[in-house]
Amino acid sequence: MGKKFKILIIDDEEVILDSCTLILGSGNYQLATANNGKLGLELVGEFQPDLVFVDLKMPGIPGLEVLEKIRDRDPNIVTIVITGYATVSSAVEAMKNGAYDFLPKPFGPDEFRLITQRGLDRRRLVLETISLRREKEMLRENFAAIVSHELKSPLGAVQQNLFVLEDELSDKLSEEQKSKIERMKVKINDLINLIHTWLRVISVDVKKLQENFKPASIATVISKAIENVQPQAKRKDIQLVSSVQEPLSLVSGDEGTLVEVIGNILGNGIKFSRVGSRITIKAEEKENSLFISITDTGIGISKEDLPYIFEDFYTGNTGPVVEKSSGLGLAISKRIIEAHNGSISVESELGKGSTFTIRLPVQ
């Protein structure tokens, strides 16, 4: 890139300032010098350097203090200390204060050029990181708006027109044609739901949930979650057995999302269980924590997959493909539980089933 880096050198010895200027003069830099800390700090504001060399031993404001003030002003400015007393301890002290490197006096031109180059490489990285971070943040913020408009709206329009077609053609279509429309509706609906899920993972700050925490009953959460997945369970003739050891203390949390977590795990259990099997939900209180465990006797998770199952978009590589999944349910669940200061873990054996355990601190 054509950016001309700005370098500021703060040293009380005019000889050093002159020779440094001479050494770097031929390079593509913009230079400024100051012969004391006070002037140097003023220049940091005016000149806005990318890289600052600071002599540790100066009359007036000591070098370490100059370093500290530079860091307070802008921690992203790269600083390198120059020290005539090249003791390890003063260099270490300076680096603890945020200096990137140190240059012992006396130094030769090559040494100086090299360390300048290193400092500027560092600055380049720092700047890149900042801009990447900003970009990521903007993406995250804009993602919801972009996705909802660019992806959801067209799908919504397709679905809307499909509704109308179905309605208007209801007396003309054969049963087979009707079932084709029905299938299209279901698929589009799945897509719309998938987009919703993505939106939530990427654009929603789960920590915001904490603002609305209220005392919540886990027994209620469990029964609501069971109610939500009951239709899926019925379809596969899977029995959901819950044993809640009352009385349980309340947790501080958000009932809606906790229901979603339990629902997600139950839903997974149902997806990966055989027809006619059962899933057990237990809740008990131990040592100021509530433990909720959900055990299925389904296909289980292989050892290779186990470490990754809570990651975004992970759907498992090794097990048999039974049902499609977005690979987001557990990732969201983990985030929600962590927002509740809890934890979620899993034990599983391939072919035998899995147990998910959620720990939540009591209020």
Partner: protein, 141 residues
């Protein structure tokens, strides 16, 4: 159904509008459409409507909300029942789970989500019209 009942749709997505317009016209409402908030507001000022169907996410963001606020400030238009049609409920609902999201932008409003089943759309429209009618007759007394 009364053919005199006049509805206005404000929504920037012509494809989506086509989907709800035909449902409403089949139910013998007279339907006008504006494809942006500006035209929509002009239409509302130049002609008398019985109900407004308003999209929230238009243009660069939630321009529908800005329009709803404008309606609320207008002494004549504030009485107009509004059916808000939106795809954003899911997002809002994540932060307020369990609560039905009902923004109450104006005096009489209801919310439906995109896409909406024809039957549900007609139910909401007629319910809102009925509520507005009742309110009017109460005001006369």
């Amino acid at each position: 159904m009364n053919t005199q009942t006049k509805l206005l749709i404000i929504d920037d997505d012509p494809d989506y509008v086509a989907g709800i317009r035909s449902v409403l016209e089949k139910a013998e409402y007279s339907v006008d459409v504006a494809y942006n908030p500006k035209d929509g507001f002009q239409a509302l000022q130049s002609k008398q409507y019985d109900l407004l169907l308003l999209d929230i996410m238009m243009g660069r963001g939630a321009e529908g909300i800005a329009l709803a606020r404008k309606l609320r400030k207008d002494p004549k238009l504030r009485e107009l029942p509004v059916l808000i049609i939106t795809g954003i409920r899911e997002q809002i609902a994540f932060l307020f789970p369990g609560q039905p999201v009902h923004p109450h932008f104006v005096e009489l409003d209801e919310l439906v989500e995109k896409p909406v089943e024809p039957k549900l759309l007609l139910e909401k429209v007629s319910a809102l019209l009925k509520m507005a009618e009742e309110k009017k007759s109460q005001a006369k007394k």
